[in-house]
Amino acid sequence: MIDIRNLTIKKARKHLDDKDFSARQLAEAYLEEISKVNTDLNAYLEVYKDVLEQADVADKKIAKGEISPLTGIPLAIKDNILISGKHASAGSKILKGYIATYDATVIKKLKDEGVVFIGRTNMDEFAMGSSTENSAFGPTKNPLDKTRVTGGSSGGSVATVKMNGALFALGSDTGGSVRQPASFCGVVGLKPTYGSVSRYGLMAMGSSLDVIGPITKTVTDAEIVFNSIKGKDEFDSTSQNEEGINNKKTPKVIGVPYHILEGGGMSKEALNSFKESIQKLEGLGYEIRDIKLPNIGYSLAVYYVIMPAEVSSNLARFDGVKYGLHIDGKDLLDDYLKTRGEGFGKEVRRRILIGTYVLSAGYHDAYYNKAITLRQKITDEFIKMFEEVDVIVTPTTPGPAFKIGEIVNDPLAMYLEDIFTVPANISGIPAMSVPAGTVEVDGVSLPLGLQIMAPHNCENLLFEVGKKFLGE
């Protein structure tokens, strides 16, 4: 028996290389666990039929000594990342029957290493949501408490890792979609620097904000996956290989923007837990500095202008002509209205309408242009602050996982879930959520997350502080 509960990528690598077990045996252990828990939790939308064949290929590679860090490692993929020949739905009805015609760059990189793709995971439709309740295929339940959400939008990906259904998963993060569910389920979620990981083959939501990131059990594992998927790509002109300004530095000073906690709607328990995390960091020898980021409070409003604007443009491609769902109307215009009206879920329709509004004649200057200006201002404030402090920490979310159905009918309340995570997307800096304490709610111990942010392309600072914090 393989003890998958305590397995990490790092440990599995050693066991595979030492021939303690094969990639096939490892994959079988995960498939068995999935068969027990997935129907109830709804983390995987599909488990692939060729998992064991993939594992056999990996075993041959290992036997020949062609070993990369992720050879034979089983993983889950968010349903908005394309794998050639496999179905991809982005949690939407509108992509009914769509088969990807090419590999995303991250998939190609992982295939080259000989990973084992177990399946595709549930998500909020087109990554729009913070609870995975906006999936056309039903919500994913939190493995720690089935009456609660996993967070979102990468809720399925995070749940697969937490329920021991994969050793790691890939998600996408536009406003917190990797970090917020990682926080809700007590795992590590990394949103890398914008452009450090290619977006080629990731279904676009907000193109100036989207980035693919790993969900893992440890910071060490997040670093291993990040190193495998990062890098400039000729198919994504916004991808880059740039060096961070503080890459060689050992982090010493941590900034805490206490002023943003006041407006964050945090409970007393969550606030206390955050304070304990700060004390822990102090105990580890870091200098804690109270900092002010004057315009950071506008981040969420800026985000909910820029993102829907980009959404309304990006989702124009779903027209019932090229792929997916088609609902017949009386003429071509009616085909569009029906296909998009019925194919897109409620939240997606809402965001397309908001995006259409903020870009329309007469409102463009007041909303979109103003948001772009503020975005630059917020980014400049971060860059300047990083001359004084090495990393910045905040809570990942205002509180622990909420109940399924609790806020799904209040869009603005759902948007406020992202209040601490969006600034990193607005400014493009890397950020990571690590498990940091728990709160007791209704007799269940629910995890909270600590978010660490660093200057552009300084992921190594996140890894260093994160490892120390978790004692890795």
Binding site: T101, Y298, K322, G324, L337, G341, L353, T356, Y415
Partner: protein
């Protein structure tokens, strides 16, 4: 903010999303309150010096990099309606 039901239906037609009377009724206050929230950015003061984005257009020679018909069948077989190698749509004139 004072959006009307008619505004919502107009946005729907601009975005090519069919919206029923009933849904427009529900969406009006929802979108109104979201726009009210994001409208706070209008209060932000001070301007920034406009910078040119760090991103540049990436150009390449216009040469096909794949074999003829390498992806044709894969791409076309995703289409809801086709005729040979053409996507089939209703007449527009």
């Amino acid at each position: 903010m004072t959006l009307t039901k008619k505004d919502i239906q107009n946005l729907g037609s601009l975005a090519r999303i069919g919206i029923s009377e009933e849904e427009a009724e529900k969406l009006t206050p929802e979108i109104d309150s979201i726009l009210g929230y994001v409208g706070q950015i209008k209060d932000a003061v001070g301007d920034v010096e406009k910078r040119v984005s760090a991103h540049r257009n990436v150009m390449r020679e216009d040469i096909p990099t794949n074999e003829p018909r390498q992806y044709t069948e894969d791409v076309m077989s995703n289409a809801p309606s086709r005729e040979g190698d053409y996507l089939k749509v209703k007449k527009i004139l």
